[in-house]
C-alpha cells in the first residue's frame, strides 16, 4: 500500500527534535559522499489566468541510502510579483480551489516503489527552520540568549521554534512592517515557546544587543545591514536576497547551506517574463566575488571537513541559500515510519503507481 498523508498527519508526528536529528545525520552523510541531492529545477512559463501570473513547475529530490529512500518534491504554483511596503515580493496564488500545490513523493531505494505521498507545507517550514538552527548550532555562541528577528510570518515562527531548540534563548525582539502582525506574533510565540517575545517598531530596535539576528522574510531585497556586524554576533538568513555582499565580506566566518546550488536553474520559454530581476540576479550569480574561497557548506562542518565557530568574538553568518531535495528524503523517512506506526493517512494500492512494462 502507498500512503497518502496530509499536512495535519505530518504535523502530528514531526517534532522539531526529530527534524533536527534527521537533518544532522543527513549533513554528515552528504559531507561524506554517502547521500546525494539533485539540483532544483524551476520551469517557468506564462499562465493564461490570474492576470500577470506565471506558472511554475518545480522539482527537487535526493536519495538517502542510510534509510533506503529517495524523495522528489514537486511544486505547481501560480506566481505573482506584487509590490508590498515598497518591496517586491513573490507570492503564490491559492488557485487550486483556494489551496496550494506542493507534493513530496517518497520512494523505496530497495524496491523503487512509492511509499508515501504527502504535502510539502509542514515539512517545508520545519526543514528550513531546522537547517538554520543547525547552522546556529555550529556558528552561534553557546550562550546565545537574545534574538533579533526580522519577519513575523509562517517561516519566522518556525525559525524561532528551531533556534530555541538549540540555544538557551530567553528574549526575542521581533520586527515586521505591519504592527498588527508583529504584535500578534509576539503574543502567540510568547505563549508557545514560554520565552519573552517583544514586538518592536524598527529593525534597528530588534537587532540592538542581539546575540543572534535572524531574517525570515519574503522580501527580495537585503534586510540584514552590514553595520549590524559586531564581535560575537551570529547572522542567519533563509534566502540569498536577504543579505548583501558587504555583509558576507565583513563576517569572520560564513557557512552556506550548499554553494553547489547557489545558481538556481530556471528554465523559461522565449522572452524574459519575470518583472523582478533581483529575484534571480545578485552577488550570488557573480562567481568572481573574493569571498567565495573562504566559504564552506553546512555539510562540510557536519562531516568534519570544515570548522564552525572557533572563538567567542567571531562574527558569523549562515546563508540558507536554497533548499536541498535530500532534506525531503531525510525527514520524509522519519515521517513515513511514524505515520505507518500510527496508521495515519489514506491507503492506496501501490499497483496504481507501478507498471508491468519496462520503459
Amino acid at each position: 500500500m502507498t500512503l497518502i498523508v496530509s499536512n495535519e498527519d505530518v504535523e502530528q508526528v514531526l517534532t522539531m527534535d526529530i527534524a533536527l536529528a534527521a537533518l544532522e545525520e543527513m549533513y554528515v552523510d552528504l559531507g561524506n559522499g554517502q547521500a546525494v541531492s539533485g539540483p532544483r529545477v524551476d520551469i517557468l512559463s506564462g499562465s493564461s489566468s490570474h492576470g500577470a501570473a506565471q506558472y511554475g513547475l518545480k522539482a527537487m529530490g535526493g536519495v538517502m541510502p542510510r534509510h533506503g529512500v529517495g524523495a522528489m518534491r514537486l511544486n505547481s504554483d501560480i506566481i505573482t510579483w506584487p509590490e508590498r511596503d515598497g518591496n517586491h515580493r513573490r507570492e503564490k496564488v491559492p488557485a487550486a480551489n483556494g489551496r496550494w500545490v506542493g507534493l513530496v513523493l517518497l520512494f523505496s531505494a530497495h524496491t523503487g516503489e512509492p511509499l508515501m505521498i504527502f504535502p510539502d507545507g509542514f515539512i517545508q517550514r520545519t526543514r528550513v527552520a531546522a537547517t538554520n538552527a543547525i547552522g546556529a548550532k555550529y556558528l552561534a555562541r553557546e550562550d546565545t540568549r537574545v534574538v533579533g528577528l526580522l519577519g513575523s510570518g509562517w517561516q519566522a515562527e518556525g525559525q524561532l521554534e528551531a533556534l530555541c531548540a538549540v540555544r538557551p534563548i530567553e528574549l526575542i525582539r521581533v520586527y515586521s512592517p505591519n504592527p498588527e502582525h508583529r504584535e500578534a506574533f509576539a503574543q502567540r510565540l510568547s505563549q508557545k515557546l514560554s520565552r519573552e517575545v517583544i514586538a518592536v517598531a524598527t529593525a534597528d530596535e530588534a537587532v540592538r544587543q542581539a546575540d543572534l539576528i535572524a531574517a525570515a522574510t519574503n522580501t527580495l531585497e537585503p534586510v540584514i545591514r552590514p553595520e549590524w556586524i559586531r564581535p560575537g554576533v551570529h547572522l542567519s538568513v533563509i534566502k540569498v536576497q536577504e543579505v548583501d555582499a558587504e555583509t558576507i565580506e565583513e563576517s569572520d566566518r560564513v557557512l552556506f547551506h550548499t554553494r553547489a546550488m547557489i545558481k538556481e536553474q530556471i528554465y523559461r520559454p522565449g522572452a524574459e517574463r519575470n518583472p523582478i530581476k533581483q529575484a534571480e540576479e545578485g552577488w550570488w550569480t557573480a562567481p568572481d566575488a573574493p569571498f567565495w574561497s573562504r566559504l564552506a557548506d553546512l555539510s562540510d562542518v557536519a562531516s568534519g571537513h570544515a570548522t564552525g565557530r572557533q572563538r567567542d568574538d567571531e562574527a558569523t553568518l549562515f546563508v540558507n541559500n536554497v533548499g536541498l531535495g535530500l532534506q525531503f528524503a531525510a525527514v520524509g523517512a522519519r515521517v513515513y515510519e511514524a505515520v505507518r506506526d500510527q496508521r495515519l493517512g489514506h491507503e492506496v494500492p501501490t499497483e496504481w503507481f507501478t507498471e508491468t512494462v519496462h520503459p
Copy 2:
C-alpha cells in the same frame, strides 16, 4: 477529482496519430519559445539490495501553455549493468513486487492542481517512436519504402509502427542478436502492420538496400556503421550511444532531438559507482567536435528556423539523443482529455494532493 490512470487506460485512448499530432504542435511551440522543457535530472546512488544494483531517481518535466498543462515524469529505478552478447546493457530490475516504477504527474497551469497521475510506460514508447517518426517526416525521402531495423524489443515495435504512419513503407528487414526474438518480432509485426517484416541473420543484411535504417536497441556501443551511409539514406537512432562521431560527420544533414540536453545531468555521491563509462561519455560530451555547428534541433525545423531534407540524394541522420519532459505534457494533455471523456481511471479527491498552507 484527480484521475489515477493505468497503462491499459492510456493504451486505450492514445493512438500513434494522436501522439504524432500532439508532438508536432509541441515542436512548433518549443521552436517558437511558446513552450518550455526542463532538464532531465538523474540522481544515482548505491542500493543495498539486488547485488551490484544502483538506485536511480529521475525527473523531467515541461509546460505547454497552449493546453494549460505542465507535466513531471518521475522514475524510481533499481538499475543493473549486465553484459549480454558482448555488450554492456543498462537493465532495470522489476523490484516493486515484479513491477517497475515510472509515473507522470499532469498539472493544470491555470490552477496548479494535479489533474492526472499515470504510468510512463505506454506513453514513453509512443513518444520515443513518434519523435523518430517526426524526424523521418522532415528527413527521410517521401518514397521511403524499405526499412532496415536493428533491434526487436519493445521500442523497436513502436518505432516501426510510427515510421509506417509517416512513410509508405512496404518492406522491413529486422536484425537482433537472438534468432527467436527477431523471428517472433517479424511474425507479430507482419500481422500487426500488414507489411512484409523479415527477420535476417546479420545487421548488414538488414540494412542492405534500406531507404531508412533505424536502430532501437539498448546497447551502449555504436550499432550504426559509417559505411552504411549512401546517397538518399535516412538513419535514425533512439540514443547517442547507437551512433559514432564518424557517422555524424559523414551525414549530409543531421537533426538532434535537442542539443541543449546532450549532456545529461547525473548526480551521485562520492566515488564513481557506474562500471560502464561509455554510458555517460563519448562524442556527445566532447563539445569541440567540428560537426556541432552544422546541426539543428527537431523543433528548429518544425518551427521553420531550420530546414529538413532538401534533395533526394542527401544522406540524413536523426539522433533522438534524450527525451524532453515537455513531451509528457503535450501527449498527457491529449490523454487526459480522452480518459476524462471515456470515464477511465480511478478518481481520488484533489484535496489529497493540495494544501492550505503556503510554503
